[in-house]
Symmetry: C3
Subunit: 138 residues, 3 copies
Amino acid sequence: MRQHNHSLTIETDCRGLHEFTREVTGWVVQTGVSEGLLTLFVRHTSASLLVQENAAPAARRDLERFFGQIAPEDDGYEHDDEGPDDMPAHIRSALTATSLSIPVFDAQPVLGAWQGIYLFEHRRSAHRRQIALHLIGA
Amino acid sequence: MRQHNHSLTIETDCRGLHEFTREVTGWVVQTGVSEGLLTLFVRHTSASLLVQENAAPAARRDLERFFGQIAPEDDGYEHDDEGPDDMPAHIRSALTATSLSIPVFDAQPVLGAWQGIYLFEHRRSAHRRQIALHLIGA
Amino acid sequence: MRQHNHSLTIETDCRGLHEFTREVTGWVVQTGVSEGLLTLFVRHTSASLLVQENAAPAARRDLERFFGQIAPEDDGYEHDDEGPDDMPAHIRSALTATSLSIPVFDAQPVLGAWQGIYLFEHRRSAHRRQIALHLIGA
């Protein structure tokens, strides 16, 4: 049994879903691990992780609209140190995932046919987001 | 330290929570692992995982009603390739868990007394859902 | 590769976010593991886990308000065995995390600068909450 650590940086330019499945699967292959457990952890409280539909861009736009409606910018928040999209970003993060755990088999994360791995950016402006990766296996 | 991989198929007939705690704990016992880490990963974007109240069916009906209200079918979605329950299913998946990690102790997942493991089906019609399981331990 | 199991008890006195980052990092240091994978699992269905903003108390108050609004107490629930805050607690748990997975590097969970680990209490009254911890690594 061996373990590997890695860090990915995703540059986002706007709110919404940014796919990085290929970066993840590429790293898993590089480690040489064929069976194991992959963990992803986002090191921010205004961006999160999501496994979602990888085929239909319309589904990703609907998701963004849903989260925009459920946590709107003008909702009388007490906390707005970084602007009107600050508090909605924390709420959206709380409602989605900070960490993801995915078994690895045959040197690949066992994603379903329609599953992609996304960084969900919750701030309006460009950000550099860090995701810690860990893989344990053989 | 050893690891084990497994796959469970859950057949659902309608929207809502389908318990499969027994299938999970049964597999853990079979592996012979007494201490370790169990991971569950659902390979779909229109079904998810939930640890919830295992005693009161009324709580599960209230949960289904809540998610039906927060992501209703007739909400002007752009994405409806598979019908009116398509996009609500993706939203409900985004709001709940794709993966679960549960420590194992004394050959059992350390679930609380009132916790059950559920597949949360978000589509109206019958589906076969695959859940990947991974266990590492000794 | 070694593994460690532990249990933390958090005493809560009201609804809202209770930080326990220090208890977690203290235990990780004690184990002597410098690189590995940390898992937290809450053994309840009316309390959950959240990684959130550790600097601004106003952000935590806004989060509590958001969840109070999205799952209000007087919403015609069928399940109210333990009072009006019973069903909202299950809904809030379903919307947030039951388990968290955090890579460990340099003997520390790889939390971002502004990330704290919180128990999210969803019941009004005082409770003793148990969190199972697992660490595998070297």
